[in-house]
Symmetry: C2
Subunit: 261 residues, 2 copies
């Protein structure tokens, strides 16, 4: 079944039995369980949970997966995941993965087979990555319509701190500004339009996923916050300089329009 | 013509003759000109340009508009606009206005008759606002499907600093972080997904409109930036406190989900 006919059989393992049942009911999997041992026969095991749960599960898989099988994870941060994969027995093959797509809603009801289409899917080599494993990971990525990009974990974690985790922190901090503004003037919320809606969208993200992401990428995130605060200090100083302010705004506008047409 | 049959005649005045011609060609207006005197016979004059241009135009209208006619503006900041309206001759009626909707694209090609539908439309009384003028302004707002909200200019400017101008500054500053990150690692842009796209959307806003908005709302904006930086300092301190961080994230998530369902 499924994955456009690319898989013979899909087995789902969930932490909660209701979710395992829901996946069966929705026809997403051929079999479902809450027991990790259900993947014992699998050729490919894909870990798609919050990062700290991925980190706890990787060592458990050492005793479960069959030799030669491929382990791929979809965690949002990669340095700690790659370190955990490096500690696996040499008989297992493991590749770190991160698809650059997502939603601010979670759960199987938000599942969307087209989510990956056209998205960059980062693949991280580990000490447990064989040539065959990397090739199979590429084939999986291509089967779901994503575009593979191979890079090391540190480089990935630094980049996503700027373009993914920092945006989340800004969205959540802006939401806190909104909460404080509403406490001062109850009408504030009625003035919030599509600009506030879009800039705060990430604040609605899944707590478990985002919490683990932030906690496992603290240093790159603090570095990205430092750079962000330099930019804020810069624009503060430009608020009484029309020429300098316009040039600063134009640079941001130009790159934004190039990136997203 | 137009405005769902609510107007007998619509006359457009543009700063550039190409735009006047474009409005005629698109059938948006019955007549078009670059000469402000074209509104001499109008019952209602609506100023819809960047704020500093509105401020320059209001005194010019004193010699053009017929006594008893209503002047309404759509500027993004209101304290300076209301002060300019207060200085008009007593024979003119004037109301400050701000529809809480917009796009990051400008020009007549982005015009959308449904843009105002369901949006909050703030109306500001001035020393030149008569009861009849406020009533007519309400009727106009309702004719385009918006929801009127009357408040004074200082309160409006403080609220929009938090929910509109601050989000713009965050979007543009985040774009500058992205530009710097790309200079360090050219692959960064390929990792930017829908989260970065939405959080930076406002950075693509019209320069002339946003520049005037920021320059005419400096003090409320600096105050909003102060509060925002307190929130950033708070979350920085929580990055090694899973319990405190999760509670902070949950508060933002909860309010975001309430505001935008």
């Amino acid at each position: 079944m499924s994955l456009h006919g690319s898989c013979r059989r899909v087995v789902g393992v969930a932490r909660r039995s209701e979710v395992a049942q829901q996946a069966l009911d929705m026809g997403i999997v051929d079999a479902a369980s809450t027991d990790l041992r259900a993947v014992a026969e699998a050729d490919i095991v894909v870990l798609a949970t919050p990062v700290r749960h991925i980190l706890a599960t990787i060592p458990e898989l050492a005793a479960v997966m069959r030799p030669g099988a491929l382990l791929l994870d979809l965690g949002s941060t990669k340095s700690q995941v790659v370190a955990a994969m490096n500690a696996l027995p040499v008989a297992l093959a493991a590749v770190g993965g991160h698809p650059m797509c997502g939603k601010e809603t979670g759960g199987l009801e938000s599942a969307d087979a087209n989510l990956y289409r056209g998205a960059t899917f980062v693949l991280m080599p580990t000490e447990r990555t064989t040539d065959a494993a990397m090739l199979l990971a590429h084939e999986m990525v291509e089967a779901i319509g994503a575009v593979p990009l191979v890079m090391d974990a540190e480089r990935h974690d630094r980049a996503v701190a700027s373009v993914s985790h920092l945006p989340y922190l800004l969205a959540a901090s802006l939401m806190h500004v909104g909460i404080e503004a509403e406490a001062t003037d109850v009408a504030t919320g009625r003035l919030a339009a599509s600009g506030f809606r879009d800039t705060t969208r990430l604040a609605a993200s899944s707590l478990d996923m985002m919490l683990d992401t932030l906690l496992t990428n603290r240093e790159p995130l603090l570095a990205a916050l430092d750079i962000f605060e330099e930019k804020i200090a810069q624009v503060r100083g430009l608020l009484d300089d029309p020429v300098g302010l316009k040039a600063w705004m134009a640079e941001a506008q130009c790159r934004r329009r190039e990136m997203f047409r």
